[in-house]
Amino acid sequence: MKVILDAFKEAFLLIIRLDKEFLSVFWLSILVSGTASVFGALLGVPFGVILSEGKFRGKRLLLTLTHAMMGLPPVVAGLIVLLILMRNGPLGTLRLIYTPAGMIIVQTVLAFPLVAGLTHAAVSVVDPRYQIQARGLGASAFQAIVVKVKQARRGVIAAFIAGFGRVLAEVGAVMIVGGNIRNQTRVLTTHLLLLARQGKYELALADGLLLVLLSVLVNVFLTRAQGKKVGLQTARVRSYPS
């Protein structure tokens, strides 16, 4: 037990001392995972809305596929993206392998289905009477959908939180696509793995603490964005006598 407590103490001291190596991996984690979750949301939210509101053949299949992709193991995503971005791969000339840009790409691939699936779940259970009322008041189909999505706001933000959480925590994809190169493609998770393998447990714990810290900081803001009322929000929708 003492060993563990000592390790925590060491880890705190390392963070406070703002060691250059740790700052570098901390910043890169924010950059890569942050950008990837934003891209994932920019693609995933509209996709999720389409899954919820669209009426087309194969919608069920697409939804099933999305759900399956939510569980795609990050190492598999990493392997596939490696095969695409490697020099002999179809996009090899872009020279994106072992770069932060490549890492953002693979993490976007991981975040996007998750955000889409959860957005679909959040939007599709919104009371349809919102749309009906909006249409009744003269809104276009699109505007009515926007109203519906706004009602699902909490769920959509939760989708983003989930997406960010997933990519911040993963290690396999960024390891394979990034190569864990010092000061270039090393992030908190891959740095931790390296340190743990070298037996530098206090340093590895420092990375762990930074990961938790980062997650808490981001989620403080996101949870606030979900809105002040924590309880069930029921809207007063009057139904008109037909």
Binding site: M86, R87, N88, I97, Y98, G179, N180, I181, R182, N183, Q184, R186, L194, R197, Q198, G199
Partner: protein, 279 residues
Amino acid sequence: MRFSGVRLIHALLALLLVSLFYAGSGCSLHTHGKSIVVATTSSLYDSGALDRIIAAFERLHKVSVKPIPTGSGEALRLGRMGEADLVITHAPKEEEKFIKRGYGFSRIPFLKTEYVLVGPKDDPADTANASSMEEAFSRIGRKGSLFVSRGDNSGTHLLELDIWRAVGTKPAGKPWYMETGQGMGETLFIANQKEAYCLADLCTFLSLPHLEALSVAFQPDPPLECVYTAIVVDTRKLGRGEKNIRKAKRFADFLLSSECRKLVLEFKVKGMGLYMPFR
């Protein structure tokens, strides 16, 4: 009728899962607790040679071996912590220290190969015309050509650092110098993608696929030897039993045996025999 169909499928799936579990456990449960852990430098592992040696040993002696590929420095650390029963490394200075501090019994060199400088086919730093490995490194430093290092305290990494020191260059932090912190295989893959120079053991380099952008840029003559040494860890020092010491000693003896020598000489990579028994 439909109901029992679903039940049948469930039963078959359960049967499949159970039989997979048994098949899997059959492989590992028998050897659990009876195996020795061998921490090895990854370059011997990545070429596939160690697997062959271990397979032959396991067949002959009925002792199971668990190889853990890392760098030489880390292998020795695992030995110090008692996490490994035998270490295979190629870092002579570190090995001496290990023995001196009583962590291991003796150095048993059993295999050798050579180090080469690999690099992009167009050789931007003109290392082919260097007169020595040191000069080749010096040219790379001056030109600022991309260089990938293992950066993991492995035997290869420590030798690489020695060479940089010998030519008075400090590559750490320079924009052309990349440290992967990983094994020989992964480091070579990165060097390949980045079209960079890298110090590698010839055997691993030739045994890996997908290294089309790299070729041997400079091969010293006489060869820069890479000697693999086995050390049986003295686990008594950490209060652990002697059970594994006997098995580890058996493995070390096997490494010097004629069967192993034959295996080494027959191990060919792309038609070339690149490993040699040490003596």
